[in-house]
Amino acid sequence: MSENNIENDQDDIKIVNTGCCHDCGGRCTLKAHVKNGKIIRFETDNGEDPQLRACLRGRVYRQKVYHQDRLKYPLRRIGERGEGKFERISWDEAYEIVANKMKEIKEKYGNSSILFIPGAGNQGMLHGVTPVGLMLNQFGGYTRMWGIPSYEGALFASMATYGTMMTGNSREDLLNSKLIILWGWNPANTIWDPGTPLMLAKAREKGIKIVVIDPIFTDSAAILADQWIPIRPGTDTAMLNAMAYVIITENLHDKPFIEKFTVGFDKYKAYLMGDDDNTPKTPQWAEEITTVPAEIIINLAREYASNKPAALMAGWGPARTARGELYSRAANLLCVITGNIGIEGGYASGFMRAYYSRETVSAGRKKKTGPMNKEDQKEMTKKKTPRGNPVDWGAPPRKDSLYKLRGGTNPASTRIHFNEYYDAILQGRKGGYPADLKMAYIAAENRLNQYCNVNKGVKALKSLEFIVVHEQFMTPTAKFADILFPVNTFMERNDIAVPWLGSPYYIYLNKAIDSLYESKSDLEICKELALKLGVEAGLLNLPEDQILRIFTSPRKDIKSYDQMKKDGFYKVKVDEPFIAFKEQIEDPENNPFPTLSGKIEIYCEHIAELSVPNMPPIPKYLSHEEHYDAPKAKQYPLQLLTPHNKRRTHSSLSMIPWLEEVEPHAVWISPVDANSRNINSGDLIDVFNDRGRIRIPANVTERIIPGVVVVYQGAWYNPDKEGVDLGGCGNVLTKDSHSPGGAFPMNSALVQAELYSKKETEGVS
């Protein structure tokens, strides 16, 4: 273009409608201003309500795309695994090495020896792990996981209680509540759909009381709520059960509702009254455990039961514990016994998904939920199913899964729990796992950082024969790759983002710029690698836009694909707000709950039949070996929490300077615990237990309950020569196990803290 064509600077700028698609609870609009092939700045949604305004994580995206540390070329490891020494190779060479090694491993050990480690750090409908899974299926399959760290406890409880994940109401329905309780939930920072904090603010402005129960005085507690109730971590089930005790003993429960819609109330009541264990679950009993004064528990129970409709929204964080599903079950049951189900302004808790177009509107293809019949079960164990992962074909269900229910459970016994990968790698079939694992295919996943027990992970990853990683940056996980494929970002390709919590909209991520350096999309990589592997690339061979049209074709709520692509989003018009279980309550004859009994299961017979230790069919409060009252607490007296904060999305965006200055990484510790250890803000401190040690600055703050330290998750593991993590990755300290229902115990680790060195400026005095 000649200079004469450019009248002024503005004419030279092209605006591309795209969005951000991190693995947070939001998917938001970004308008990229592109000049000479480079993004120079962003705007966000300024159109019709509800706007999908990007938060700070989206607004910083330029600093990710153009970050100096982006992986630029395919790399081959030349140092030790984890050392981070690599050399540049060509794409052809990289493909050749990977294809040959994969063929060799398949030949020698079979497909089950290939462990797929998928993540959500780089995602969309088409990119991230999707094409990798398709390619590996074509190659004969792989060993895969069950269990999702974010929510497995909440999911299990949702399935056990209601038989479905679809338990959420539309956000605007919050305005119909008389009381809102946010339990262990911080939507001001974690973005559960972009409009959530705004709707909570509007509810409060309308005069609706909001209560937050959380060990941390979060931004949600401080800004959105009228009352903050600090609670000792991992004891939520005790408080919820004590509230149920108050409600039942004061006759505030909804007896007609319980009679009509539930099973097993008497068994729960018997537990609460102490019929079996001579321990009535009184507020005084709970005060001892939770540190919440009995008076506060009684008042909240009365308020909740007598201000109907009321919305108790049980966050997933308290379920990321060693008995996680019991907390979620207890929260669900509080909603149930007060009859806050299926009505405007009420809330069922559960998994809390409100909308999922494939289930609600696909004409004639309604996704099945609920119990499986005999034929379905036969289908599941058939020798061959037409699609999916061949390694799973014909596998019987896991004995500890809710395998009789459909949707939300991953019962194939060929699968390994995501938090037991390291043990499975190290032990294989000898340790009772379904496969001997020889190679890992890792995509969009900073695995080592984001799962429990990093130091064990180091051993496991070092023991494998071969590791392939798709990445954008040299993450702690990427350092363990044998071959590292540089992947582009969502600014460099077309894709569609679907909100996973189910707000009714889509984001179309229009490609804003060409791929930087030699990076490629996951789709391109898999398409080209498939050729070398000698398998059909199939769908992968089509252009991005064509595949996206195929993927979205069953979603009848997208009335115009072209409009969505043009605007960069599609806001689905819905007739009225979603109220979960409205049909079940209004017309129970024709709409049973999708559980085995057809009713809400206060006592879950399916769980009872499984007969798994520490998985009672009613939500009992149970301790565990890393609880505050466990013998181990003598040695490690502090409880560790590893929640999300506003400056990262998991471990993505950890490298962004604009975000680092928003909230520098530090351990939050209460003055009570800091003073006794001679710790001041800014001092370098060690937090440690038998699994490892991290060393980062302290932030001494009143904003947490004493006895607890907080290491916000996602900071990158960065060990020194002694193996002390100077990056401050909380998962160095967490345990690589899971609750009986599959919950990840990221918030169930006992630790100790000690001063390492005083802050430099103070060291002189």
Binding site: E43, C55, A201, I705
Partner: protein, 185 residues
């Protein structure tokens, strides 16, 4: 003369920093000491009786800006048409040479300097270019909580029930900052 200014709903601000980051992106400002939009955290009390409020402050485009009087080179001016206070980069002596006299007299640290040696003063110009195009400022359009607004100050006062102070902000009658609040009580 109309006076442009800010409205800030402190009761809604969750301290998410989106306005601040959007400002840095739009104006291409590196991470570092230069912050045209600053988020101030006001934390009070002892566990468990705590209060926390945020204050988002850019430049208040004061009715009688002390920075203008303090500037030795008349680099800072107040626009006749809308009261927006702007800086002439070429006239500014720089942080070291001048001693940042503008910053010293501003009660809210609006004049900002980058990390470069003898950086020239820069600050919030109320997105004059965007306003000219009929758009809102980048911070107003960024706020996920709709807690910010920019417009003629009289209009803002009519549109919202406003207060001239907030937690962490006391009105200075002498220089008359062009900002109104809904305070977090």
């Amino acid at each position: 003369m109309k006076q442009m200014g800010f409205y800030f709903d402190q009761s809604r601000c969750t301290g998410c920093y989106t306005c601040s980051v959007a400002c840095k992106d739009w104006n291409d400002i590196d991470a570092g000491p230069e912050n045209w939009m600053r988020i101030i955290t006001i934390e009070e009390g002892k566990f468990p009786n705590l209060s926390l409020a945020y204050l988002a402050l850019a430049c208040n485009h004061c009715a009688d800006p002390p920075c203008i009087k303090a500037c030795p080179t008349n680099a800072i001016t107040k626009r006749e048409s809308d009261g927006i206070v702007t800086v002439n980069q070429e006239a500014c002596l720089g942080k070291i040479e001048c001693g940042a006299k503008c910053l010293k007299v501003c009660p809210w640290d609006a004049p900002q300097f980058s990390a470069t040696i003898n950086a020239k003063m820069r600050k919030c110009d109320l997105c004059v270019e965007r306003l000219k195009q009929g758009k809102q400022t980048i911070c107003v359009e960024a706020c996920p909580m709709y807690a910010l607004d920019v417009g003629p100050i009289e209009k803002l006062q009519k549109k919202y029930e406003t207060n001239d102070s907030a937690i962490g902000f006391t009105k200075n009658n002498k220089i008359n900052p062009s900002i109104n609040f809904k305070s977090k009580i």
